[in-house]
């Protein structure tokens, strides 16, 4: 693990590590009045615990002028996350769990100065259960293999990080093509996904906010 730093605050060079253990983050926040949005005087502990019993991780950061590339990969191993929402006067305590296992699972996030665009890619195999956190109504884990044919470019016009204006992703044998029209969020900006599923058909989805909770996500839900 090299110590060389670049001005943006990232360590340069590649690392390869075996990680074991946990990080538990506690954020002490007020409760919020649903009708007024005002914070309570009391503070409550919201806990998130990330853990692994031996994951093989690699990654790298490289910079070229103002352009940069961040790579992160889970070569093998499993990560689990547990969220504990505290008991508050108007809300019960809740515990949500999710986990995923990667096999050669990697992502890249690049910033291209020439186009002033971020782009992301995801490749490799994942098995995971995100059902409690993202209400998909499914039971058990899913396994997918990803291959990014063309990096997914992030729209600079959206407030949302994962709002793609270009790119192509293969999921097993299905192909998702991303595009966007418009330039103003909540006025005319719309993200489009064209999903081709071999032997089944071609499907179109539009979204205007967060991709994980839009009509596209609804299509993936197991139960209504």
């Amino acid at each position: 693990m090299a110590r060389e730093y670049e001005p943006g605050g990232n360590f340069l060079g590649r690392y390869l590590v075996e990680a074991k253990g946990f990080v538990r983050r506690v954020q002490r926040l007020p409760d919020f009045d649903a009708s007024t949005g005002e914070p309570s005087a009391e503070f409550y502990d919201f806990s998130t615990t990330f853990s692994t019993d031996g994951a093989l991780l690699t990654g790298a950061y490289t910079a070229d002028g103002t352009g940069n590339l961040l790579e992160a990969a889970l070569l093998a191993g499993k990560f689990s996350t547990r969220f504990i929402y505290p008991l508050r006067p108007t809300k019960p305590t809740r515990t949500l769990d999710m986990w995923f296992r990667g096999t050669g699972l990697s992502t890249r996030r690049a910033y291209d100065t020439a186009t002033s665009r971020y782009s992301v890619s995801i490749d490799g195999k994942v098995e995971g259960d995100f059902n409690q956190f993202f209400p998909l109504g499914c039971s058990g884990s899913d396994t997918f293999i990803f291959r990014t044919r063309a990096p997914l470019t992030l729209s600079p016009y959206s407030y949302y990080y994962e709002f793609f204006e270009g790119g192509e992703l293969v999921v097993d044998q299905a192909v998702a093509t991303f595009s966007a029209t418009g330039t103003e969020q909540y006025v005319d900006l719309v993200g489009h996904v064209l999903l081709k599923v071999p032997g089944v058909g071609t499907f179109n989805y539009d979204y205007d906010e967060y991709i994980l909770y839009g009509p596209f996500a609804d299509a993936g839900r197991c139960t209504p």
């Binding site: 075996e18 990330f50 990560f79 044998q173």
Partner: protein, 171 residues
Amino acid sequence: MFKPFHRICLVALSLSLSGALFAAGATPANTEQRAARGVNTAVVAHGQLLEVEGQFVFGSRQTIDAALDQLNAATTFTALLAPGGVTLNCPESGTLNARISNLWLRTLKLEWSHCVSVEFSSRNDIDGPAEVTLAENSLAPGMVLSIRLGDLSRDHVLDSRPETPGPWFGG
């Protein structure tokens, strides 16, 4: 207020990466529902990988990097060979103790005792043990070989809160 508790062990490896690391084995995304869920999962996995990198790797490296800078500015590798090591005062209050527990393995033991500093309007209090394997006999090594935050019985805890508590954060 933000407070991470760590018990992390990071061991640097020097394997070369080669060949395909996975083979087909997934149930194919052969329905609209499953393919759509697959794309959603790709977006989630991207975010989770960045989260893992930030929580487990970057944060650990940053903690140890800052400690090495603090030690290198105030003492020497040789001084840390003393049985009790060296204890430094932290910027606001508390201490950081450092000692080389195994010269052959270059094992650096660190012990923060409510070591408080202020950075970016945030008051940071670090408490607990850590262990680092240095790559050379220096407090300014180009790299480290392993990092362990916390130990079998104790967490490494960073308590971070704004200097000026407000209604939204800082309870």
